[in-house]
């Protein structure tokens, strides 16, 4: 195995770029992304759909050639040393694309062959992994008969066959029921405790809050926030007040609320404002609206959450996020 | 229902348009839809135009000397002989397109919506097939028009061409109805396309590409009992011998008899489908 530079990072991107198309129709999907992910970290990679998340991950996992910048994974260049990168990473894919005609056990064997594991280890390895993800009983059934959650767990097992040091998980829990989600979280923590560095893309901010030590938010191909969730929340600072008023009063209410702080993205049918003076300003808000003859239908005060960080950074609130 | 001025108190009833029961208008609307569908999806119909012409051209270049084989009818060129087979081949292939569309209508529920509207059942079926019939007519005329500059001669003249066009139209109805029965029965576009090779087999075990007189053994016997042989030979005699009532009869009446059988079959299949629910 080629040696790598001393103390290289498990995942590193320097000015990573990807453009699609040519001429006037050229689109910059990823426009100079810098990432430094530390050894043993669980790193969350967030962003709205189409922001460049998947494109970045596809470049770091050697599936897509960058059009600019440098990507290094496990100390190897993703273009020049693609095969060394592949040997060191595990990737669980978003749509859990698995051949429905094969059985779980056959797929694990194929994966072991393709990773060049010694033949004598194939059977034990496959058995261990099936047990680890709770699919021992289903191992000899065709994948076509699996449920969505089972496929996701098999996909994780497939990505672990060669004991990767760096694991990419692309929206691993999307579409899973809460129980399956929590058991997958436990598995991710366990892998992390064993020394595996994890880069996790997710739509669920709660998931990022629960699992990750640091996050980066990408929007329009550019990293817009980076840091520990706690630090980022503190940066947002003021709590958010969501106010619902009658539709007719939306406009005057918006003007009045702007006097209490910056307006923030809010769920449908409500107005959001970051209270510069903190929670104590709530009573003033009610009084001001009341004086203007606007009836307050509902009122909610939220301490800064990752959702607020995300909304402030991208202007979106993710669907299903707890506002 | 018609609207009438109301004298009672309370909210005035909504005015509703008058609903006429016009079979002709409904059938026409359905026909227009199926014809448009063919027009708008050239990728589906082009192969059934190109392939028969390609094979006619290929055969003419390959089998020109075969016309001297004992048992081969007297022809100026293999092209004259091949026209009938090309027309029937094109119509068999083209007719699956409409039936596949019908099966897709069933798959996505549009067919049920049609059935729940006050249209007549036969209007739905005939309308569906009208596109196929128009296309069968078009194929016959186009094949003749395209091949004429390449040395095709039609001994039957204008009456022969008209007879073939009618025969082609009726054949398209006959095959379209057969495939539609299949579509209604299975409700699966895949099954309809899967039945396509059966038409291919029926075509090959006939005299569509070579005269029955030159075949031998079981193969010759299969071609002898295959109605497609007689139908093709009707078209072919109109081309290579001239207009005779015997040839015209085979070119039109055989597909007509087939059409009566297959349309009946498709209507009965539809009735069974409705009865089953």
């Amino acid at each position: 195995m080629p040696t790598t530079s001393t103390n290289s990072l498990p995942i590193e991107a320097i000015g990573l770029q990807r453009t699609f198309g040519t001429g006037d129709e050229q689109v910059k999907a990823v426009d100079g992304v810098d990432l430094q992910i530390q050894q043993g970290e669980i790193f969350g990679f967030l962003g709205p759909n189409g922001a460049g998340k998947s494109t970045t991950v596809r470049m770091l996992t050697t599936l897509l050639r960058p059009t600019g910048g440098i990507g290094r994974v496990a100390g190897f260049d993703v273009v020049e040393q693609a095969n060394d990168v592949r040997r060191n990473i595990g990737v669980a894919l978003q749509d859990a694309a698995i051949d429905p005609l094969m059985t779980g056990s056959e797929l694990l064997h194929l994966q072991a062959v393709l990773y060049g594991l010694p033949k004598s280890t194939h059977a034990t390895k496959a058995g261990e992994l099936l047990e680890r993800v709770g699919l021992t009983a289903a191992g000899n059934r065709r994948v076509g008969t699996y449920s969505g959650g089972m496929r996701r767990r098999l996909d994780l097992a497939l990505s672990l066959i060669h004991e990767p040091t760096v694991l990419f998980l692309d929206e691993p829990t999307t579409g899973l029921d809460p129980m399956s989600r929590i058991s997958l979280w436990e598995e991710i923590r366990r892998l992390n405790n064993d020394g595996t560095t994890v880069m996790l893309t997710t739509q669920y901010l709660e998931e990022a809050d629960q699992l990750t030590e640091r996050i980066a938010i990408i929007d329009h191909g550019v990293i817009v926030r980076k840091g520990r969730p706690s630090e980022l929340k503190a940066e947002v600072g003021s709590p958010t007040l969501f106010v619902s008023v009658d539709a007719a009063a939306t406009e005057p209410a918006t003007t009045l609320l702007a006097g209490f702080g910056e307006l923030r993205p809010s769920p449908e049918g409500t107005l959001g404002v970051g209270l510069t003076d903190g929670p104590s300003a709530v009573s003033n808000v009610i009084r001001t609206l009341d004086d203007a003859g606007i009836t307050v239908r509902n009122l909610e005060l939220h301490e800064p959450s990752l959702d607020d960080v995300f909304a402030e950074a991208t202007g979106y609130r993710l669907e299903g996020a707890d506002a | 229902m018609t609207t009438a001025p109301t004298t009672t108190a309370g909210p005035a009833p909504r005015t509703r348009p008058e609903l006429h029961q016009s079979n002709v208008a409904q059938t026409w609307a359905m026909s227009k839809r199926s014809i448009l569908a063919l027009w708008r999806q050239p990728a589906l119909v082009v192969p059934s135009m190109i392939f028969p012409l390609f094979f006619a051209a290929l055969g003419t270049a390959s089998f020109s000397r075969a016309t001297a084989i004992p048992g081969f009818p007297e022809v100026d060129s293999y092209l004259d002989f091949a026209l009938a087979g090309a027309i029937v081949q094109g119509i068999l292939f083209g007719s699956t397109v409409g039936a596949t569309a019908l099966a897709t209508d069933i798959e996505n529920g549009f067919f049920d919506r049609l059935l729940s509207s006050p249209s007549t059942r036969s209007g739905i079926i005939v309308g569906r097939m009208a596109g196929g019939m128009a296309y069968g007519f078009l194929q016959t005329v186009v094949f003749i028009a395209v091949l004429l500059p390449f040395g095709l001669t039609i001994k039957g003249g204008v009456p022969g061409v008209i007879t073939m066009a009618i025969g082609g139209t009726v054949l398209a109805l006959a095959v379209g109805a057969l495939m539609s029965a299949m579509a209604i029965r299975t409700g699966s576009s895949e099954a309809v396309q899967g039945a396509f090779p059966l038409l291919f087999i029926a075509l090959f075990f006939s005299s569509a590409f070579f005269p029955r007189e030159t075949m031998s053994g079981i193969y010759a016997r299969l071609a002898d009992i295959n109605p497609i042989s007689y139908l093709v030979e009707g078209f072919r005699d109109l081309t290579i011998e001239g207009f005779t009532w015997s040839a015209a009869f085979r070119a039109v009446v055989i597909p007509a008899i087939l059409a009566v059988l297959t349309v009946t079959l498709s209507l009965r299949t539809l009735k069974r489908r409705l009865g089953a629910r």
Partner: protein, 273 residues
């Protein structure tokens, strides 16, 4: 569980280089699974060449009466054509399966492995060769029942099998190359149509000496004509000599090489989209 490598600061890994051959065999096995588990795809690919052989031999039964025709059995003339069509579609079937893998995303999983890129092509190719072998054997067996005879003894089977395997490789290379470039079912239509045209614009139906006009000119320069000639060597009344053989073999080698390069380039291009 993990030991940290002192030089890299990363956990030490010891995964050997994956070698091309075992990886190819693994992928071949995966590709063969379809034969047993997706019979609706495999059975037609076996039945169609049999049907084609019988239908052509029966319909055009009399063409051997044309003066100068190189055999007096129509089944001898059309059996090798059936083998060529069946083997070619065995290869093109690999293209179809790969389109499904690309559309479904399974192909990403294969590309993520460190298996040598060549094995992603060689694996499916091996499975196409196995399919071609099955098709050739079955078509020959059924054709023999319908009266096909090897005019130069069993050695006539060698060029038949070689031509079948070669056409299967061409179908695979062409099919994979198009699948990689289009990544959807458009590729399937193109591979079928082009293959069909190239096979029929040859001596597929009658020998050059019998043809007239444009087809003779096209067939004369169409390299696939040499391949069909190779397949027919053992079934004709003319002598089976090296002179007749080498052009067919050369045509096969050249076209196989070109289509494999086409496939390999296409595979590399997948990382650009």
């Amino acid at each position: 569980m993990t030991i940290v490598d002192e030089t890299t600061g990363l956990p030490e890994r010891s995964v050997a280089n994956t070698r091309t051959f075992p990886a190819s065999v693994g992928l071949m096995k995966r590709s063969m699974v379809n034969i047993v588990r997706l019979p609706s795809a495999f059975v037609p690919s076996l039945v169609m060449p049999i049907f084609q052989t019988i239908a052509f031999a029966g319909t055009f039964f009399a063409i051997t009466q044309i003066p100068g025709f190189p055999t007096d059995r129509s089944i001898n003339w059309f059996l090798p054509l059936g083998v060529i069509m069946g083997s070619g579609f065995a290869g093109i079937g690999i293209g179809f399966a790969t389109i499904r893998d690309l559309e479904g995303g399974f192909y990403d999983r294969l590309r993520l492995t460190p298996a040598p890129r060549a094995s992603l092509i060689v694996g499916p190719l091996l499975s196409a060769l196995v399919r071609s072998f099955i098709v050739t054997t079955v078509v020959f067996a059924v054709g023999s029942l319908f009266g096909a005879r090897l005019t130069h003894g069993p050695s006539g089977l060698i060029p038949l099998y070689l031509a079948g395997l070669g056409i299967a490789s061409i179908g695979t290379g062409w099919g994979l190359g198009l699948a990689y470039r289009f990544r959807d079912m458009r590729a399937a239509a193109i591979m079928q149509l082009t293959f069909f045209l190239l096979i029929f614009l040859t001596e597929a139906q009658t020998p050059l000496s019998v043809m007239e006009g444009w087809l003779e000119h096209v067939a004369r320069i169409n390299p696939f004509n040499q391949v069909i000639g190779l397949a027919r060597l053992g079934f004709l009344d003319q002598p089976m000599t090296w002179n007749e053989t080498w052009t067919g073999l050369l045509a096969l080698v050249v076209i196989v090489a070109l289509t494999m390069v086409f496939a390999r380039r296409g595979l590399d291009k997948l990382s650009d989209e």
